[in-house]
Amino acid sequence: MSGLAVRIIPCLDFKDGRVVKGVRFENLVDSGDPLERALLYEAQGADELAFLDISATVEGRKTMAKEVARIRKAIAIPITVGGGIASMEDAARLLDSGADRVSVNSAAVREPAIIEAIARRFGVQCAVVAIDAAKSPAMPSGYEVKIAAGAVATGLDAIEWASEAAQRGAGEILLTSIDRDGTNLGYECNLIHLVSRAVPIPVVASGGASKPEHFLEGYRNGALALLAAGIFHRSEVSISEIKQYLSAHNVEVRL
């Protein structure tokens, strides 16, 4: 018996201080004030919040840190922040602003030692490695790691990279399927299954969930946390609805 509840994590994609959401990493739509969103999700029973900064400018990144600080004061659940973290300084600034954990993506691929550095300085629970994976028949597992918001193929096998990240001290893998992101088709369950089996740390499923059934599938394939963005932003499904559904299927949730 685990006892631990599966986490439902709404993700807020930020661009210059506003919440946005795209399809397959493109076509961004403004979805409102982040603080308002964060408070709504906390009230609905979100177990944690994920923020992803997709600002491309220095100005945008400064705005991000300010937003994290403002939201930190208002809510009392964990916050994980990622997007564009390229150095220990970036990580420290966001943690000082009130993030509880940081996720590194492209920077970890380019310079894997950043994983060890974050884990050593802030603890393994703080070091989340975000992996964006896309189907690729050329890879042993059938999935390739992409970086720079999906624009650059790395030639890395997603399962091998996840294992290396865990060995280097990552405390969690945030696993996004680029093929499924924003499509509403459900999580890429095979990918979740393969990575969950390969690493001794928790895996967060991300990309494509639009119905309570998708969350159950993600859980049954080994994810300990289930992330979604668009369906929550558009209020298509509430967090409490998903939790009721999971609970009815004997999955431990915090109700």
Binding site: M1, V6, P78, C126, P200
Partner: protein, 231 residues
């Protein structure tokens, strides 16, 4: 001497912690968070919090370097309230598997161990705490954990008192525990009382990230641990 009007919560600064969340907890409780590494302040303050930070060894090293270990011991010896969160709880014990050979504060008997049970580590997320009957502060509920280490439920808090050849642990009138299961059971919280005050409130979970549950727990602790109650 400056006069502090708002009641304060002194948060021990160990140099590596992210303190925004515990500061926010203090503010939600109507307290002014004061972050300090001054041992004098840690001895004198009405309420002190030792937050969860990095790894056992480096954290103990930082505490010793600044004389904060002695400050915490003298606080506890005088029966003045202190809370510990996550690693801040673990440091109260004698040692930890996380940093072999490093002595902890040694205010409670036992050694912190890596969580067993074959589940993914760290334990990340919400789990239930179950207080044992007789707990006055701790209540059952969902709380947020982020830990790979903990104290097993086999730990006996009376063993130090019986064996005088061992280190002398501070006297408490009563100790109550809460437990949690993640693969196997571990101690998720401790309340230790002396002279009708909860001198220690130790949480393996993060009350500052546990929504209203964490806030309410700390509000009860502050009320019961308050000097005014004894006046």
């Amino acid at each position: 001497m400056s006069q502090i009007r708002t009641p304060s919560l002194v948060i021990i600064e160990t140099g590596v912690a992210n303190l925004a969340s515990v500061r926010s907890l203090a503010e939600r409780l109507g307290l002014q968070p004061i972050v300090t590494s001054d041992p004098e302040e840690v001895v004198r303050a009405p309420f002190v919090l030792l937050p969860g930070v990095g790894a056992f060894g480096p954290a103990m090293h930082k505490l010793r370097e600044r004389g904060l270990d002695a400050a915490i011991r003298s606080r506890v010896a005088e029966g003045r309230p202190i809370a510990g969160i996550c690693l801040g709880m673990q440091l109260f014990f004698e040692a930890s598997e996380e940093s072999e050979g490093v002595q902890g504060l040694g205010l409670l008997p036992g050694k912190v161990k890596r969580l067993s049970g074959g589940l993914p580590l760290p334990q990340l997320g919400w789990n239930r705490i179950e207080p044992e009957p007789g707990s006055r502060l701790l209540q059952a509920g969902w709380v947020y954990f982020a830990n790979s280490y903990g104290v097993g439920i086999e730990q006996n808090f009376n063993e130090g008192a019986a064996d005088t050849s061992k280190a002398a642990f501070p006297r408490f009138d009563s100790i109550s525990l809460a437990t949690t299961t993640y693969g196997s059971a571990f101690i998720s919280a401790i309340e230790a009382w002396r002279d009708d005050r909860p001198v220690l409130l130790l949480c393996q979970f993060h009350p500052e990230l546990s929504g209203s549950f964490g806030k309410n727990l700390f509000a009860r602790w502050l009320e019961l641990a308050s000097e005014r109650r004894r006046a």
